[in-house]
């Protein structure tokens, strides 16, 4: 079972890295959906084969919400406002990937001194969740489009979810459901806000390059 947990952790980090290397928003959302799908399978592996009905409910709930509804809302949002499909990174994709790899290394380095009691030293959950968190932050920092900000936020959230999963084997179901609902509402609101912001957040005072936000409504 640990093999499956480890493999999922690795895959989740890998998907975050590949979101950094993607240059089209549709692709980013697809990878995000894949990442969430893998993440939603993780509760099933946690208890060494003894899958309880609680785990299945949690897994299904996460899957439906994160791998289904949220990407659907995002797709709907970008289709609704028919924005350009290419992202606008502040630093190039190549540098992003290299920085991302370094951030992953940093996450592992930090986790070396962050031993969690009751967890094996070789446990991958903690460093991977930290890495996903950092990569999510990096996506938010280096991408200018509004949708990518939302995606960055969602990836950070995935990181926190992974962290919680690896930290506590049993979270109260109610809290988990609450968190999921929060995300759902947050994304819903963001989709509505996106409709108004549309393209990107305003840049600094550079009159030539400044793009005036187009109003849709």
């Amino acid at each position: 079972m640990t093999t499956w947990i480890d493999a999922s952790c690795i895959l989740i980090v890998f998907f975050s890295l590949s979101i950094l290397a993607t240059y089209r928003i549709v692709g980013m959302i697809q990878i995000y959906a894949l990442q969430s799908f893998v993440l939603s399978l993780m509760p099933l592996f946690l208890h060494a084969g003894n899958v309880s009905s609680r785990d299945i409910v949690l897994s299904l709930g996460t899957m439906v919400l994160k791998a289904g509804v949220v990407p659907f809302i995002l797709f709907w949002a970008i289709r609704r406002i028919s924005m350009r499909s290419e992202i606008k990174p502040i630093i190039g994709l190549g540098s992003s990937i290299v920085c991302g790899a370094l951030l992953v290394a940093g996450a592992f380095w930090v986790s070396m001194s962050l031993r969690i009691p009751g967890k094996a030293a070789a446990d991958l959950g903690l460093p991977c969740s930290l890495a996903v968190l950092l990569l999510g932050f990096m996506i938010m920092v280096t991408r200018t489009r509004a949708v990518t900000q939302v995606l960055g936020y969602l990836i950070i959230e995935n990181g926190i979810f992974l962290f919680a999963l690896s930290l506590f084997d049993s979270m109260p179901t109610l809290i988990e459901m609450g968190i999921l609902l929060d995300i759902f509402v947050a994304v819903f609101i963001m989709a509505i806000v996106l409709n108004h912001i549309n393209e990107e957040f305003e840049q600094g005072p550079d009159p030539e390059k400044q793009v005036k936000p187009r109003e849709v409504f």
């Binding site: 890998f14 890295l17 290397a21 240059y23 990937i97 592992f108």
Partner: protein, 305 residues
């Protein structure tokens, strides 16, 4: 010693073109065609080796000697690779360095030979080859580092022949990353589709084929043989890592090896048909992803050590 080396070379020369044929066949079948015979690459080589070479005016010894050096270097590398049940005749600590630098020598003469013709198309291919190989070489090295850490050895045979049935459970996650990264390196080094297109001979987007543009006859046969052997080498590194099954019966082992190799060739064929060739400035992103994968694999290996 000499006999084992000769047998190894014979096996290499015998098997290498077959897998190229498999890829071509798979591509044709998926596209709904019958496709050429599985042994078409053998026929091609035989046909080319009977032809005379035509040299372009003004080429020097570098161009004329390049095919021989390239083929010889690739054959030398094949000595360090176990082929099925036949152990690598040359194994020593640090043979991976010789492997990587012999490939560098191959690249040097490929590039120098193509620049020797003095045509800008060749220059273009050479420039791209020089750039992309910088990325793949570093990635390859990083993968070998991680494999070396796992096997605690710097001899290739021990790295890929280590007892992996046990270690896939232990080191599964990092193995996953290494295999993925090595697969991209395999595609890049053998000029397969998302990176390079082995079928087009006349496009501004190609890399490897344009460097062979001026070679003809026996020289071209040597170059094509060399690239077939290169594919064999890379897949022979990858297959024992992916399928670490070992049985006591040598015939089963050989069957596993040949099956794995054919499977890998089929996989490459599927990738080639299902993907479009990447835009040239996206290729480096793919290569960087493979670099990041290898880097990540190295970190996980350490984390587990």
């Amino acid at each position: 010693m000499i006999t084992t080396i000769l047998i190894h070379w014979l096996l290499t020369l015998l098997f290498a073109p077959f897998f190229i044929g498999v890829i071509t066949k798979v591509k044709a079948v998926i596209a709904g065609k019958i496709g050429p015979s599985l042994f078409q690459s053998y026929y091609d080589l035989a046909r080319l080796s009977q032809k005379r070479s035509v040299y372009s005016s003004g080429v020097t010894w570098v161009f004329r000697l390049a095919p021989m050096i390239v083929l010889a270097a690739v054959l030398m590398v094949s000595l360090m690779i176990p082929i099925g049940i036949f152990k690598a005749p040359v194994q020593f600590a640090g043979d991976i360095l010789v492997l990587v630098y012999l490939f560098a020598l191959v690249r040097f003469f490929m590039i120098a030979g193509s620049l020797d013709t003095g045509f800008s198309m060749e220059g273009m291919g050479a420039s791209r080859e020089a750039f992309f190989s910088c990325l793949t070489e570093v990635t390859l090295f990083m993968n070998l580092l991680a494999l070396g850490l796992l096997a605690h050895s710097i001899s290739l045979s021990e790295m890929i022949g280590a007892n992996y049935p046990v270690s896939w459970n232990l080191v599964g996650p990092s193995m996953l990353l290494i295999v993925a990264s090595l697969f991209i390196v395999l595609l890049a080094e053998n000029c397969r589709i998302p990176i390079d297109d082995p079928d087009t001979h006349l496009e501004l987007t190609m890399i490897h084929e344009v460097m062979l543009l001026e070679h003809s006859g026996v020289d071209l046969a040597f170059m094509m043989y060399a690239s077939a052997i290169k594919f064999l080498i890379f897949s022979s590194i990858l297959v024992p890592i992916i399928i670490p099954v070992k049985s006591l019966d040598p015939f089963i082992n050989l069957a596993i090896y040949l099956g794995g190799m054919t499977g890998l060739a089929v996989l490459v064929g599927c990738v080639e048909t299902s993907m479009a060739r990447l835009r040239l400035d996206r290729v480096r992103h793919l290569l960087l992803i493979s670099f990041a994968l290898a880097f990540f694999g190295l970190i996980v290996t350490w984390w587990r050590a």
